[in-house]
Amino acid sequence: MRTARLYLRLLGAHFRSLLEYETDFLILAGATVLMQVVNIVFLAALFAKVPVLNGWTFWSVLMMFGAVALAEGVGSLFFDGMWNLAWHINRGELDYYLVRPYPVALQVSSAALGINGLSNIVTGSLMIGAGLAHSAVDWTPWRVGLAVLLLISSVVIKVSINLATNAVCFWLSSPSPMFAFAMHQVGDLARFPLSIYPLALKAVLGVALPFAFISYFPIAYLLDTGPSRWLGLLTPLAAVYCAGVAALVFQRGLRRYESAGN
């Protein structure tokens, strides 16, 4: 609890200075909204010609796009500092983090606040909401609770993968988070139903880098569509697994940290 409170305190420290750059926020927000609009135009154009994609309607694929956008938005808004890890390592700027009594990973991720995440959270939620509104889900309290749990797990998975892939920079000498960025791009594959991909890609997105648990599996379970929909119930487990792996990779990486100026 203290950890969470302190996290918001650290994050909030940047908030005030961020407000100084109002135009920055507007440009970023505008750009992220534009990106989602382009996605929706693309989906609409595609589904104007085909009613379903492997059994998935426009609205269900829109939900997957929305889930990826939402998870990404939470990652930017609350954990954007991760993307500066490579730079911090390269410049030896973790020194002070390492002598403070607060988890280093949390100090890193709270060191920046990606205000543009806000627009992704909003557009992502709207896309999920629109998708759900056009679905025939029979809402019981148990289903609502489960949906919330799946949503939280989905976000945890995205953030954990961000952390783990960024922590790979402890091994690479690159000053930019290119590896993590590339994996983040791979994550965009999860915006489409997993069933359209060849087996190797299914394995990558379902197991190695379980991006499919951010969008496809939980939505398949919720909408009761597609093959092996029960896999969606494993989403919370996948979240715990990802968080554990991310923490482990980060701890291992930290042991390799060499500071700078040698």
Binding site: K49, S174, S176, M178, F179, A182, Q185, R191
Partner: protein, 261 residues
């Protein structure tokens, strides 16, 4: 000329030094290729849509990929940060033309990009089957179109990066540019799939020359006359943007000198 060649070599060297970044930076384009191949394979499995068969769409996507990779080692980030930090003032005292210097840098990485395209296209063809190559006039037009794509893409990125003189925020401008280019160039979906008014607007915009024009010529979906017109539009935009960029640059310099960097 020698100084521009040196800049081009330095750019290639910088790209190689961070070879991992280089490979991964192209990931976005590659991921889009993979996703779209998977989507269209399913969609076009039964029957062609809008006249596109699966082998045609595959060829379209491969050309789109190649067009997306060319001139992507740009150093536009570096350029942006030099503008934002005011270090651009140091570039001004060098005895080279700023715009030509940046263009030379983007050419420096071209051979690396071509090698990458060769590998990815080769692997894709090996897995999904071959494509029909254009012949005669079509082939000549395709080559011309791909050659024009190089300055065209450079100029679009260059002009949008110059926006840093006004906005202080490079990331947002770049994202917006990527989104617009992705849609209006036909890289995300062939322009004929878009609503008619949007497709027409895109067709005459400078963005169509970034994917749609070379891809349609490659597929033989336009005859020689139409193809020539499309390439002429490309050329027109290159000229307009080359001299337009100079105007933007002059305005930017005024801003720089007025604000003192």
């Amino acid at each position: 000329m020698r100084s521009y060649r040196a800049l081009a070599r330095a750019a290639a060297r910088a790209a190689l030094a961070y070879r991992l970044s280089l490979l991964l930076g192209m990931g976005a384009v590659l991921v889009q290729l993979v996703a779209l191949l998977a989507v269209w394979r399913v969609v076009l499995a039964q029957s062609p849509i809008n006249g596109f068969t699966w082998p045609q769409m595959r060829a379209y996507l491969l050309v789109a990929f190649a067009a997306g990779i060319v001139v992507s080692i740009l150093g536009d980030f570096r350029m942006a940060y030099r503008i934002l930090d005011g270090d651009v003032a140091l570039d001004l005292v060098k005895p080279v033309d700023y715009q030509k210097a940046r263009f030379a840098e983007s050419l420096g990485g071209l051979w690396i990009e071509l090698a990458l395209i060769g590998v990815v296209v080769g692997v894709t063809l090996a897995f999904t089957g071959g494509v029909d190559l254009p012949a005669g006039a079509g082939a000549a037009l395709f080559v011309a179109s791909m050659l024009l794509l190089v300055p065209l893409k450079f100029l679009i990125v260059y002009v949008s990066t110059l926006a840093c003189f006004w906005t202080q925020n490079f990331m947002g401008v770049q994202w917006a540019r990527l989104a617009v280019v992705n849609l209006l160039s036909g890289a995300l979906i062939p322009l004929v799939y878009l609503p008619h008014w949007l497709a027409t607007a895109a067709q005459w915009s400078p963005f169509a020359g970034l994917t749609s024009t070379p891809a349609l010529i490659f597929l033989g979906r336009v005859d020689a006359g139409e193809g020539l017109l499309l390439v002429a539009v490309q050329l027109g935009w290159v000229l307009v943007l080359w001299f337009g960029a100079r105007l933007v640059w002059r305005a930017a310099l005024r801003r720089l000198t007025v604000n003192g960097g």
